[in-house]
Amino acid sequence: MPGVLVIAEVADGKVLPVAFELLGAARSLSAEGAGPVSALVPGQAHAQELIARGADVVYVAPEALAGQMYDAWLPAVDAALEQSGADIVLLGQTASLGRDLGPALAFTHRTAVAPEVVALKLENGRLRVTRPCYGGNARAEHTFAGKLQIASAKPKTFDALEPDASRTGEVKTIDAIGQSRITVLSVEKVESEGVRLEDADVVVAGGRGLGDPSAFTMLEELAKLLRGAVGASRAACDLGWYPPSSQVGLTGKTVSPTLYIAVAISGASQHMAGMSGSKNIVAINKDPEANMVKVAKYAVIDDYRKVLPAFIEEVKKLKAQG
Protein backbone atom coordinates (compact mmCIF):
# COMPACT_ATOMS: atom_id res chain seq x y z
CA MET A 1 0.00 0.00 0.00
CA PRO A 2 1.49 3.36 -0.94
CA GLY A 3 1.51 6.30 1.43
CA VAL A 4 3.28 9.44 2.56
CA LEU A 5 5.99 9.46 5.25
CA VAL A 6 6.84 12.77 6.95
CA ILE A 7 10.18 13.01 8.78
CA ALA A 8 9.64 15.00 11.99
CA GLU A 9 12.78 16.62 13.38
CA VAL A 10 13.02 17.39 17.09
CA ALA A 11 15.17 20.17 18.59
CA ASP A 12 15.25 21.27 22.25
CA GLY A 13 12.53 18.72 23.04
CA LYS A 14 10.09 20.15 20.47
CA VAL A 15 8.96 18.99 17.03
CA LEU A 16 10.05 21.58 14.45
CA PRO A 17 6.90 23.29 13.07
CA VAL A 18 7.90 22.43 9.48
CA ALA A 19 6.85 18.83 10.27
CA PHE A 20 3.30 20.02 11.02
CA GLU A 21 3.28 22.01 7.77
CA LEU A 22 4.40 18.91 5.86
CA LEU A 23 1.68 16.86 7.55
CA GLY A 24 -0.80 19.42 6.21
CA ALA A 25 0.63 18.96 2.71
CA ALA A 26 0.64 15.18 3.17
CA ARG A 27 -3.08 15.21 4.11
CA SER A 28 -3.82 17.07 0.86
CA LEU A 29 -1.89 14.42 -1.10
CA SER A 30 -3.74 11.72 0.82
CA ALA A 31 -7.05 13.30 -0.16
CA GLU A 32 -5.87 13.08 -3.79
CA GLY A 33 -5.27 9.35 -3.32
CA ALA A 34 -1.69 9.09 -2.08
CA GLY A 35 -2.64 6.68 0.74
CA PRO A 36 -2.27 7.02 4.50
CA VAL A 37 -0.02 9.56 6.19
CA SER A 38 2.68 8.42 8.57
CA ALA A 39 5.35 10.29 10.51
CA LEU A 40 8.73 9.28 11.90
CA VAL A 41 9.81 11.04 15.09
CA PRO A 42 12.46 10.45 17.74
CA GLY A 43 10.73 10.14 21.13
CA GLN A 44 7.36 8.73 22.26
CA ALA A 45 6.32 12.08 23.75
CA HIS A 46 5.62 13.61 20.32
CA ALA A 47 3.36 10.87 18.89
CA GLN A 48 -0.04 12.29 19.94
CA GLU A 49 0.87 15.78 18.76
CA LEU A 50 1.70 14.43 15.27
CA ILE A 51 -1.57 12.48 15.13
CA ALA A 52 -3.47 15.64 16.08
CA ARG A 53 -1.72 17.41 13.20
CA GLY A 54 -2.70 14.79 10.61
CA ALA A 55 -0.63 11.59 10.97
CA ASP A 56 -2.48 8.24 10.73
CA VAL A 57 0.51 6.27 11.99
CA VAL A 58 3.48 7.52 14.00
CA TYR A 59 6.72 5.54 14.00
CA VAL A 60 8.60 6.37 17.17
CA ALA A 61 12.37 6.08 16.86
CA PRO A 62 14.77 6.22 19.84
CA GLU A 63 14.83 9.64 21.48
CA ALA A 64 18.65 9.64 21.14
CA LEU A 65 18.23 10.18 17.39
CA ALA A 66 17.18 13.81 17.94
CA GLY A 67 19.99 16.18 16.96
CA GLN A 68 22.06 13.48 15.23
CA MET A 69 23.48 13.80 11.72
CA TYR A 70 21.76 12.37 8.64
CA ASP A 71 23.54 9.01 8.52
CA ALA A 72 22.32 8.08 12.01
CA TRP A 73 18.74 8.52 10.72
CA LEU A 74 18.98 6.28 7.65
CA PRO A 75 18.21 2.90 9.37
CA ALA A 76 15.16 4.37 11.13
CA VAL A 77 13.83 5.90 7.90
CA ASP A 78 14.38 2.60 6.08
CA ALA A 79 12.48 0.72 8.80
CA ALA A 80 9.58 3.22 8.63
CA LEU A 81 9.49 2.93 4.83
CA GLU A 82 9.52 -0.86 5.03
CA GLN A 83 6.72 -1.01 7.61
CA SER A 84 4.53 1.70 6.09
CA GLY A 85 5.12 0.88 2.43
CA ALA A 86 5.18 4.66 1.81
CA ASP A 87 6.37 5.70 -1.66
CA ILE A 88 6.52 9.44 -0.88
CA VAL A 89 8.85 10.98 1.74
CA LEU A 90 8.55 14.62 2.81
CA LEU A 91 11.26 16.41 4.79
CA GLY A 92 11.87 19.91 6.10
CA GLN A 93 14.76 21.61 4.32
CA THR A 94 16.76 22.31 7.48
CA ALA A 95 20.54 22.66 7.72
CA SER A 96 20.45 20.44 10.81
CA LEU A 97 18.90 17.43 9.06
CA GLY A 98 16.66 17.52 5.99
CA ARG A 99 19.11 19.22 3.66
CA ASP A 100 21.44 16.21 4.10
CA LEU A 101 18.98 13.40 4.81
CA GLY A 102 16.93 14.00 1.61
CA PRO A 103 19.76 13.40 -0.87
CA ALA A 104 21.39 10.70 1.32
CA LEU A 105 18.10 8.79 1.33
CA ALA A 106 17.66 9.36 -2.40
CA PHE A 107 21.10 8.07 -3.33
CA THR A 108 20.90 5.01 -1.06
CA HIS A 109 17.55 4.15 -2.70
CA ARG A 110 18.79 4.99 -6.21
CA THR A 111 16.14 7.66 -6.67
CA ALA A 112 15.92 11.46 -6.72
CA VAL A 113 14.98 14.16 -4.22
CA ALA A 114 13.36 17.45 -5.17
CA PRO A 115 14.58 20.01 -2.61
CA GLU A 116 12.71 23.19 -1.65
CA VAL A 117 9.46 22.45 -3.45
CA VAL A 118 6.67 25.05 -3.33
CA ALA A 119 3.82 22.84 -4.59
CA LEU A 120 2.99 19.15 -4.51
CA LYS A 121 0.28 17.25 -6.36
CA LEU A 122 -0.63 13.74 -7.34
CA GLU A 123 -0.91 12.89 -11.04
CA ASN A 124 -1.85 9.35 -12.07
CA GLY A 125 -0.93 8.21 -8.59
CA ARG A 126 2.57 9.71 -8.83
CA LEU A 127 4.05 12.81 -7.20
CA ARG A 128 4.55 15.94 -9.31
CA VAL A 129 6.40 18.83 -7.67
CA THR A 130 7.02 22.48 -8.51
CA ARG A 131 10.17 24.27 -7.40
CA PRO A 132 11.82 27.62 -8.12
CA CYS A 133 15.18 27.57 -9.90
CA TYR A 134 17.55 29.97 -11.64
CA GLY A 135 17.46 32.29 -8.66
CA GLY A 136 13.68 32.35 -8.66
CA ASN A 137 13.52 33.45 -12.31
CA ALA A 138 11.99 30.14 -13.38
CA ARG A 139 9.78 27.37 -12.05
CA ALA A 140 10.44 23.71 -12.84
CA GLU A 141 7.98 20.84 -12.53
CA HIS A 142 9.39 17.39 -11.86
CA THR A 143 8.31 13.77 -11.55
CA PHE A 144 10.47 10.88 -10.38
CA ALA A 145 11.90 7.96 -12.34
CA GLY A 146 12.33 5.77 -9.26
CA LYS A 147 9.60 4.17 -7.12
CA LEU A 148 10.45 6.23 -4.05
CA GLN A 149 9.67 9.94 -4.42
CA ILE A 150 11.36 12.35 -2.03
CA ALA A 151 10.70 16.07 -1.62
CA SER A 152 11.77 18.70 0.89
CA ALA A 153 10.30 22.10 1.67
CA LYS A 154 11.61 25.13 3.51
CA PRO A 155 9.72 26.07 6.70
CA LYS A 156 6.55 28.13 6.10
CA THR A 157 6.01 26.79 2.58
CA PHE A 158 2.86 24.83 3.44
CA ASP A 159 0.08 25.45 5.96
CA ALA A 160 -0.21 23.26 9.04
CA LEU A 161 -3.63 22.00 10.05
CA GLU A 162 -5.08 23.19 13.35
CA PRO A 163 -4.35 20.49 15.95
CA ASP A 164 -7.34 18.19 16.42
CA ALA A 165 -7.05 16.34 19.76
CA SER A 166 -9.92 14.02 18.80
CA ARG A 167 -8.00 12.50 15.85
CA THR A 168 -6.87 8.94 16.44
CA GLY A 169 -3.95 7.04 15.02
CA GLU A 170 -1.58 4.16 15.58
CA VAL A 171 1.76 4.45 17.36
CA LYS A 172 4.51 1.96 16.48
CA THR A 173 8.03 1.68 17.82
CA ILE A 174 11.09 1.51 15.61
CA ASP A 175 14.20 0.38 17.38
CA ALA A 176 16.70 1.44 14.72
CA ILE A 177 19.44 3.99 15.11
CA GLY A 178 22.58 4.30 13.03
CA GLN A 179 26.11 5.08 14.10
CA SER A 180 27.00 8.42 12.50
CA ARG A 181 30.49 8.82 11.11
CA ILE A 182 30.26 12.51 11.96
CA THR A 183 30.76 13.64 15.57
CA VAL A 184 29.04 16.83 16.73
CA LEU A 185 31.54 18.71 18.92
CA SER A 186 29.54 21.83 19.73
CA VAL A 187 26.50 23.89 18.79
CA GLU A 188 26.36 27.67 19.05
CA LYS A 189 23.02 29.39 18.89
CA VAL A 190 22.77 32.93 17.61
CA GLU A 191 19.86 34.52 19.42
CA SER A 192 17.99 37.23 17.58
CA GLU A 193 16.39 40.00 19.60
CA GLY A 194 12.62 40.30 19.62
CA VAL A 195 10.42 38.32 17.25
CA ARG A 196 12.13 35.68 15.11
CA LEU A 197 12.06 36.69 11.44
CA GLU A 198 10.67 33.34 10.25
CA ASP A 199 7.87 33.42 12.84
CA ALA A 200 6.96 37.09 12.51
CA ASP A 201 3.43 38.02 11.48
CA VAL A 202 4.68 41.35 10.18
CA VAL A 203 7.99 41.81 8.37
CA VAL A 204 9.43 45.23 7.55
CA ALA A 205 12.22 44.77 5.00
CA GLY A 206 14.72 47.11 3.40
CA GLY A 207 16.89 46.93 0.34
CA ARG A 208 19.71 48.69 -1.44
CA GLY A 209 17.32 51.45 -2.48
CA LEU A 210 17.44 52.77 1.11
CA GLY A 211 20.79 54.24 0.07
CA ASP A 212 21.94 54.41 3.67
CA PRO A 213 22.37 51.73 6.38
CA SER A 214 21.10 54.06 9.11
CA ALA A 215 17.63 53.86 7.54
CA PHE A 216 17.30 50.42 9.13
CA THR A 217 16.81 52.19 12.49
CA MET A 218 13.53 53.54 11.10
CA LEU A 219 12.53 50.06 9.87
CA GLU A 220 13.30 48.70 13.34
CA GLU A 221 11.07 51.33 14.95
CA LEU A 222 8.20 50.41 12.63
CA ALA A 223 8.75 46.67 13.14
CA LYS A 224 8.69 47.12 16.92
CA LEU A 225 5.50 49.15 16.68
CA LEU A 226 3.82 46.38 14.64
CA ARG A 227 5.35 43.60 16.80
CA GLY A 228 7.17 42.36 13.73
CA ALA A 229 10.71 41.67 12.60
CA VAL A 230 13.13 43.37 10.23
CA GLY A 231 14.33 41.66 7.07
CA ALA A 232 16.78 42.72 4.38
CA SER A 233 17.52 41.96 0.76
CA ARG A 234 20.74 40.21 -0.24
CA ALA A 235 22.02 43.43 -1.79
CA ALA A 236 21.62 45.25 1.54
CA CYS A 237 23.31 42.40 3.45
CA ASP A 238 26.15 42.16 0.93
CA LEU A 239 26.80 45.87 1.51
CA GLY A 240 27.06 45.11 5.23
CA TRP A 241 24.03 47.27 6.08
CA TYR A 242 22.26 44.49 7.99
CA PRO A 243 23.31 41.07 9.35
CA PRO A 244 23.12 38.15 6.87
CA SER A 245 20.97 36.26 9.41
CA SER A 246 18.18 38.72 8.52
CA GLN A 247 18.48 38.14 4.78
CA VAL A 248 15.22 37.17 3.10
CA GLY A 249 15.51 35.27 -0.15
CA LEU A 250 16.71 32.21 -1.93
CA THR A 251 19.99 32.02 -0.03
CA GLY A 252 18.45 33.45 3.14
CA LYS A 253 15.27 33.02 5.16
CA THR A 254 11.85 32.14 3.78
CA VAL A 255 9.05 34.16 5.38
CA SER A 256 5.31 34.15 4.86
CA PRO A 257 3.93 36.82 7.18
CA THR A 258 0.44 38.28 7.07
CA LEU A 259 1.96 41.65 6.20
CA TYR A 260 5.24 42.25 4.36
CA ILE A 261 6.29 45.89 4.04
CA ALA A 262 9.04 46.20 1.42
CA VAL A 263 10.86 49.50 1.67
CA ALA A 264 13.04 50.42 -1.31
CA ILE A 265 13.30 46.80 -2.47
CA SER A 266 13.06 46.41 -6.24
CA GLY A 267 12.13 42.74 -6.01
CA ALA A 268 14.93 40.75 -7.63
CA SER A 269 13.69 37.24 -8.20
CA GLN A 270 16.07 35.78 -5.66
CA HIS A 271 14.48 38.01 -2.97
CA MET A 272 10.93 37.23 -4.15
CA ALA A 273 11.71 33.52 -3.76
CA GLY A 274 11.97 34.10 0.00
CA MET A 275 8.84 36.18 0.56
CA SER A 276 6.35 35.43 -2.21
CA GLY A 277 4.28 33.45 0.32
CA SER A 278 3.45 36.69 2.19
CA LYS A 279 -0.33 37.16 2.48
CA ASN A 280 -0.30 40.95 1.98
CA ILE A 281 2.54 42.93 0.47
CA VAL A 282 3.03 46.69 0.75
CA ALA A 283 5.66 48.30 -1.48
CA ILE A 284 7.17 51.69 -0.75
CA ASN A 285 9.33 52.51 -3.75
CA LYS A 286 10.24 55.41 -6.01
CA ASP A 287 10.03 53.22 -9.13
CA PRO A 288 6.48 52.39 -10.27
CA GLU A 289 7.93 49.69 -12.56
CA ALA A 290 9.65 47.81 -9.70
CA ASN A 291 8.81 44.13 -9.50
CA MET A 292 7.81 44.52 -5.86
CA VAL A 293 5.15 47.10 -6.81
CA LYS A 294 3.59 44.62 -9.28
CA VAL A 295 3.08 41.92 -6.65
CA ALA A 296 1.95 44.32 -3.91
CA LYS A 297 -1.58 44.84 -2.61
CA TYR A 298 -0.84 48.50 -1.87
CA ALA A 299 2.02 50.58 -3.20
CA VAL A 300 3.22 54.07 -2.38
CA ILE A 301 5.32 55.51 -5.18
CA ASP A 302 7.47 58.04 -3.37
CA ASP A 303 10.59 58.63 -1.35
CA TYR A 304 10.54 56.38 1.73
CA ARG A 305 12.36 59.11 3.71
CA LYS A 306 9.19 61.19 3.58
CA VAL A 307 6.69 58.33 3.62
CA LEU A 308 7.96 56.27 6.55
CA PRO A 309 8.02 58.95 9.30
CA ALA A 310 4.44 59.96 8.44
CA PHE A 311 3.39 56.31 8.25
CA ILE A 312 4.92 55.58 11.68
CA GLU A 313 3.12 58.62 13.17
CA GLU A 314 -0.23 57.55 11.71
CA VAL A 315 0.21 53.95 12.93
CA LYS A 316 0.94 55.29 16.43
CA LYS A 317 -2.19 57.41 16.28
CA LEU A 318 -4.35 54.52 15.10
CA LYS A 319 -2.88 52.23 17.78
CA ALA A 320 -3.63 54.84 20.44
CA GLN A 321 -7.28 54.84 19.32
CA GLY A 322 -7.27 51.10 20.16
Binding site: N137, R139, H142, T258
Partner: protein, 267 residues
Protein backbone atom coordinates in the same frame (compact mmCIF):
# COMPACT_ATOMS: atom_id res chain seq x y z
CA UNK B 1 47.08 16.74 1.43
CA UNK B 2 45.37 15.81 -1.84
CA UNK B 3 42.14 17.65 -2.45
CA UNK B 4 39.65 17.43 -5.31
CA UNK B 5 37.47 20.47 -5.99
CA UNK B 6 34.38 20.18 -8.20
CA UNK B 7 33.29 23.37 -9.97
CA UNK B 8 30.46 24.22 -12.35
CA UNK B 9 29.90 26.80 -15.02
CA UNK B 10 26.41 28.30 -14.98
CA UNK B 11 24.40 31.13 -16.60
CA UNK B 12 25.16 34.36 -14.72
CA UNK B 13 22.77 34.34 -11.71
CA UNK B 14 22.78 38.15 -11.74
CA UNK B 15 21.09 38.11 -15.17
CA UNK B 16 18.21 40.60 -14.75
CA UNK B 17 14.74 39.07 -14.86
CA UNK B 18 14.00 41.15 -17.96
CA UNK B 19 16.77 39.33 -19.92
CA UNK B 20 15.89 35.89 -18.60
CA UNK B 21 14.19 33.64 -21.19
CA UNK B 22 13.06 30.05 -21.18
CA UNK B 23 12.38 27.88 -24.23
CA UNK B 24 9.36 26.09 -22.77
CA UNK B 25 9.20 23.47 -25.53
CA UNK B 26 12.86 22.52 -25.12
CA UNK B 27 12.62 23.02 -21.32
CA UNK B 28 15.87 24.97 -21.42
CA UNK B 29 17.08 28.41 -20.42
CA UNK B 30 17.97 30.52 -23.45
CA UNK B 31 21.44 32.05 -22.86
CA UNK B 32 21.04 35.81 -22.40
CA UNK B 33 22.65 37.82 -25.22
CA UNK B 34 25.94 39.37 -24.23
CA UNK B 35 25.97 37.86 -20.72
CA UNK B 36 28.65 35.14 -20.66
CA UNK B 37 28.36 32.14 -18.32
CA UNK B 38 30.23 32.38 -15.02
CA UNK B 39 31.76 30.13 -12.37
CA UNK B 40 29.05 29.16 -9.87
CA UNK B 41 29.48 31.83 -7.13
CA UNK B 42 29.99 29.30 -4.29
CA UNK B 43 32.72 27.37 -6.14
CA UNK B 44 35.66 29.81 -5.82
CA UNK B 45 35.10 29.54 -2.06
CA UNK B 46 35.54 25.75 -2.32
CA UNK B 47 38.77 26.33 -4.29
CA UNK B 48 39.89 28.89 -1.69
CA UNK B 49 39.26 26.35 1.08
CA UNK B 50 41.29 23.73 -0.81
CA UNK B 51 44.22 26.11 -1.31
CA UNK B 52 44.26 27.17 2.35
CA UNK B 53 44.19 23.52 3.52
CA UNK B 54 47.01 22.61 1.15
CA UNK B 55 49.06 25.59 2.39
CA UNK B 56 48.41 24.64 6.03
CA UNK B 57 49.44 21.03 5.32
CA UNK B 58 52.63 22.24 3.66
CA UNK B 59 52.11 20.21 0.51
CA UNK B 60 49.84 18.11 -1.64
CA UNK B 61 47.84 18.57 -4.78
CA UNK B 62 44.60 20.35 -5.65
CA UNK B 63 42.77 18.84 -8.63
CA UNK B 64 39.81 20.64 -10.18
CA UNK B 65 37.05 18.71 -11.94
CA UNK B 66 34.19 20.21 -13.93
CA UNK B 67 31.47 18.45 -15.88
CA UNK B 68 30.12 20.54 -18.71
CA UNK B 69 30.55 21.77 -22.25
CA UNK B 70 33.88 22.84 -23.74
CA UNK B 71 33.30 26.35 -22.31
CA UNK B 72 33.43 24.90 -18.76
CA UNK B 73 37.21 24.90 -19.30
CA UNK B 74 36.98 28.58 -18.23
CA UNK B 75 35.65 27.54 -14.79
CA UNK B 76 38.62 25.14 -14.44
CA UNK B 77 41.07 27.81 -15.63
CA UNK B 78 39.72 30.20 -13.00
CA UNK B 79 40.50 27.66 -10.25
CA UNK B 80 43.94 26.98 -11.78
CA UNK B 81 44.63 30.72 -11.83
CA UNK B 82 43.71 30.85 -8.14
CA UNK B 83 46.41 28.25 -7.53
CA UNK B 84 44.97 24.76 -8.14
CA UNK B 85 47.44 22.30 -9.69
CA UNK B 86 45.57 20.25 -12.28
CA UNK B 87 42.26 20.30 -14.13
CA UNK B 88 39.98 17.66 -15.58
CA UNK B 89 37.05 18.45 -17.87
CA UNK B 90 34.32 15.82 -18.10
CA UNK B 91 32.85 16.32 -21.53
CA UNK B 92 30.62 14.03 -23.58
CA UNK B 93 27.53 14.48 -25.79
CA UNK B 94 25.82 12.01 -23.42
CA UNK B 95 26.12 14.56 -20.59
CA UNK B 96 23.71 16.91 -22.40
CA UNK B 97 20.47 17.35 -20.44
CA UNK B 98 21.45 15.13 -17.49
CA UNK B 99 20.31 15.88 -13.95
CA UNK B 100 22.40 16.36 -10.80
CA UNK B 101 21.95 12.69 -9.88
CA UNK B 102 23.60 11.57 -13.12
CA UNK B 103 26.18 14.34 -12.58
CA UNK B 104 27.00 12.93 -9.13
CA UNK B 105 27.50 9.48 -10.68
CA UNK B 106 29.90 10.89 -13.31
CA UNK B 107 31.81 12.96 -10.72
CA UNK B 108 32.13 9.96 -8.39
CA UNK B 109 33.54 7.87 -11.27
CA UNK B 110 36.00 10.63 -12.13
CA UNK B 111 37.10 10.97 -8.49
CA UNK B 112 37.67 7.19 -8.30
CA UNK B 113 39.73 7.45 -11.47
CA UNK B 114 41.86 10.24 -9.95
CA UNK B 115 42.35 7.78 -7.11
CA UNK B 116 44.31 9.61 -4.43
CA UNK B 117 42.27 12.05 -2.37
CA UNK B 118 41.92 13.05 1.26
CA UNK B 119 39.13 15.53 0.82
CA UNK B 120 36.57 16.55 -1.82
CA UNK B 121 35.28 20.13 -1.76
CA UNK B 122 32.35 21.67 -3.62
CA UNK B 123 30.22 24.80 -3.41
CA UNK B 124 27.09 24.39 -1.24
CA UNK B 125 24.85 24.42 -4.32
CA UNK B 126 24.90 25.56 -7.92
CA UNK B 127 22.97 28.78 -8.40
CA UNK B 128 21.21 27.51 -11.55
CA UNK B 129 19.10 24.61 -10.28
CA UNK B 130 19.61 25.55 -6.61
CA UNK B 131 19.43 21.96 -5.37
CA UNK B 132 22.69 21.27 -3.52
CA UNK B 133 22.39 17.49 -3.75
CA UNK B 134 25.59 16.67 -5.68
CA UNK B 135 27.97 16.78 -2.65
CA UNK B 136 25.85 14.25 -0.74
CA UNK B 137 25.40 12.21 -3.92
CA UNK B 138 29.12 11.91 -4.54
CA UNK B 139 29.75 11.07 -0.86
CA UNK B 140 27.07 8.37 -0.79
CA UNK B 141 28.29 6.83 -4.05
CA UNK B 142 31.88 6.79 -2.74
CA UNK B 143 30.75 5.48 0.65
CA UNK B 144 32.25 8.38 2.61
CA UNK B 145 30.64 11.00 4.89
CA UNK B 146 29.42 14.40 3.70
CA UNK B 147 29.52 17.57 5.79
CA UNK B 148 27.46 20.36 4.25
CA UNK B 149 27.44 24.20 4.36
CA UNK B 150 30.87 24.80 5.86
CA UNK B 151 32.00 28.24 7.02
CA UNK B 152 35.35 27.00 8.37
CA UNK B 153 37.39 23.86 7.64
CA UNK B 154 40.56 22.58 9.29
CA UNK B 155 42.45 19.32 9.40
CA UNK B 156 42.92 18.03 12.95
CA UNK B 157 44.62 14.69 13.75
CA UNK B 158 43.86 13.13 10.39
CA UNK B 159 40.22 14.23 10.56
CA UNK B 160 38.37 17.19 9.11
CA UNK B 161 36.83 19.65 11.57
CA UNK B 162 34.06 21.77 10.06
CA UNK B 163 31.97 24.63 11.38
CA UNK B 164 28.57 24.35 9.68
CA UNK B 165 26.03 27.14 9.20
CA UNK B 166 22.70 26.19 10.82
CA UNK B 167 19.37 28.01 10.50
CA UNK B 168 19.80 29.55 13.96
CA UNK B 169 23.54 29.43 14.57
CA UNK B 170 26.58 27.24 14.00
CA UNK B 171 27.63 23.66 14.66
CA UNK B 172 31.15 22.25 14.79
CA UNK B 173 31.55 18.65 13.67
CA UNK B 174 34.38 16.25 12.98
CA UNK B 175 34.49 13.58 10.28
CA UNK B 176 37.06 10.97 9.28
CA UNK B 177 38.91 11.40 5.99
CA UNK B 178 38.29 11.02 3.16
CA UNK B 179 35.10 13.09 3.22
CA UNK B 180 33.09 15.46 1.06
CA UNK B 181 32.60 18.99 2.40
CA UNK B 182 30.34 21.57 0.75
CA UNK B 183 31.39 25.18 1.28
CA UNK B 184 29.03 28.09 1.99
CA UNK B 185 29.33 31.80 1.21
CA UNK B 186 30.08 32.46 4.92
CA UNK B 187 33.54 30.90 4.32
CA UNK B 188 34.86 34.27 3.21
CA UNK B 189 36.26 35.96 0.15
CA UNK B 190 38.21 33.79 -2.29
CA UNK B 191 41.55 35.11 -3.53
CA UNK B 192 41.53 37.01 -6.80
CA UNK B 193 43.79 35.52 -9.50
CA UNK B 194 46.78 37.77 -10.29
CA UNK B 195 47.93 38.32 -13.86
CA UNK B 196 51.07 36.22 -13.34
CA UNK B 197 48.95 33.31 -12.04
CA UNK B 198 46.57 33.63 -14.99
CA UNK B 199 49.58 33.31 -17.31
CA UNK B 200 50.87 30.31 -15.35
CA UNK B 201 47.42 28.71 -15.40
CA UNK B 202 47.41 28.88 -19.18
CA UNK B 203 50.36 26.45 -19.12
CA UNK B 204 48.76 24.00 -16.67
CA UNK B 205 47.22 20.95 -18.34
CA UNK B 206 43.51 20.26 -18.46
CA UNK B 207 42.74 16.62 -19.25
CA UNK B 208 39.47 15.79 -20.98
CA UNK B 209 37.64 12.58 -20.03
CA UNK B 210 34.54 11.35 -21.82
CA UNK B 211 31.81 8.98 -20.62
CA UNK B 212 33.68 5.88 -21.82
CA UNK B 213 36.80 6.98 -19.88
CA UNK B 214 34.59 6.96 -16.76
CA UNK B 215 33.09 3.55 -17.58
CA UNK B 216 29.63 5.07 -18.05
CA UNK B 217 27.27 3.41 -20.54
CA UNK B 218 24.69 5.22 -22.69
CA UNK B 219 21.82 3.79 -20.61
CA UNK B 220 23.04 5.92 -17.67
CA UNK B 221 23.30 9.10 -19.71
CA UNK B 222 21.21 11.61 -21.62
CA UNK B 223 17.97 13.37 -20.73
CA UNK B 224 16.01 10.12 -21.13
CA UNK B 225 17.80 8.55 -18.18
CA UNK B 226 17.32 11.37 -15.69
CA UNK B 227 16.41 10.29 -12.15
CA UNK B 228 14.44 13.52 -11.62
CA UNK B 229 12.32 13.99 -14.73
CA UNK B 230 11.90 17.57 -15.94
CA UNK B 231 8.24 17.92 -16.98
CA UNK B 232 8.06 21.67 -17.44
CA UNK B 233 10.21 24.80 -17.17
CA UNK B 234 8.67 28.27 -17.34
CA UNK B 235 8.87 31.84 -16.13
CA UNK B 236 6.11 32.33 -13.54
CA UNK B 237 3.53 34.90 -14.58
CA UNK B 238 2.66 37.68 -12.19
CA UNK B 239 -0.81 39.16 -12.44
CA UNK B 240 -0.69 42.57 -10.82
CA UNK B 241 -3.61 43.65 -8.65
CA UNK B 242 -1.79 46.51 -7.00
CA UNK B 243 -3.61 49.57 -5.69
CA UNK B 244 -1.33 52.59 -6.02
CA UNK B 245 -2.03 55.03 -3.20
CA UNK B 246 -2.62 58.45 -4.80
CA UNK B 247 -2.35 61.76 -2.94
CA UNK B 248 -0.64 65.15 -3.30
CA UNK B 249 2.10 64.63 -0.74
CA UNK B 250 4.12 61.61 0.45
CA UNK B 251 2.91 62.29 4.00
CA UNK B 252 -0.72 62.13 2.89
CA UNK B 253 -0.04 58.88 0.98
CA UNK B 254 1.48 57.43 4.16
CA UNK B 255 -1.61 58.34 6.22
CA UNK B 256 -3.96 56.81 3.63
CA UNK B 257 -1.83 53.65 3.55
CA UNK B 258 -1.98 53.30 7.34
CA UNK B 259 -5.74 53.79 7.36
CA UNK B 260 -6.27 51.22 4.62
CA UNK B 261 -4.14 48.66 6.45
CA UNK B 262 -6.12 49.43 9.62
CA UNK B 263 -9.42 48.90 7.76
CA UNK B 264 -8.08 45.56 6.49
CA UNK B 265 -7.17 44.67 10.13
CA UNK B 266 -3.56 44.18 9.06
CA UNK B 267 -2.17 46.58 11.67
Amino acid sequence: MNIIVCVKQIPDPETPASSFRVDEAAKKVVPAQGIPPVVNPYDPQATEAALRLKEAAGGGKVTVISLGPESARDAIKHALAMGADEGILLNDPGFEGIDNFQTAVALAKAIEKVGQYDLILMGRAAADWDMGVVPMGVATLLGIPCVSIAKAIERVDGKVRVTRVLDDGFQTVEAPLPAVVSVSNEFGEPRYPQLRQIMLAAKKTVQVWNAADLGLSPDQLGEGNRWLKLEALYVPKVESKVEIIEADTPEEKARILAQKLRADKLI
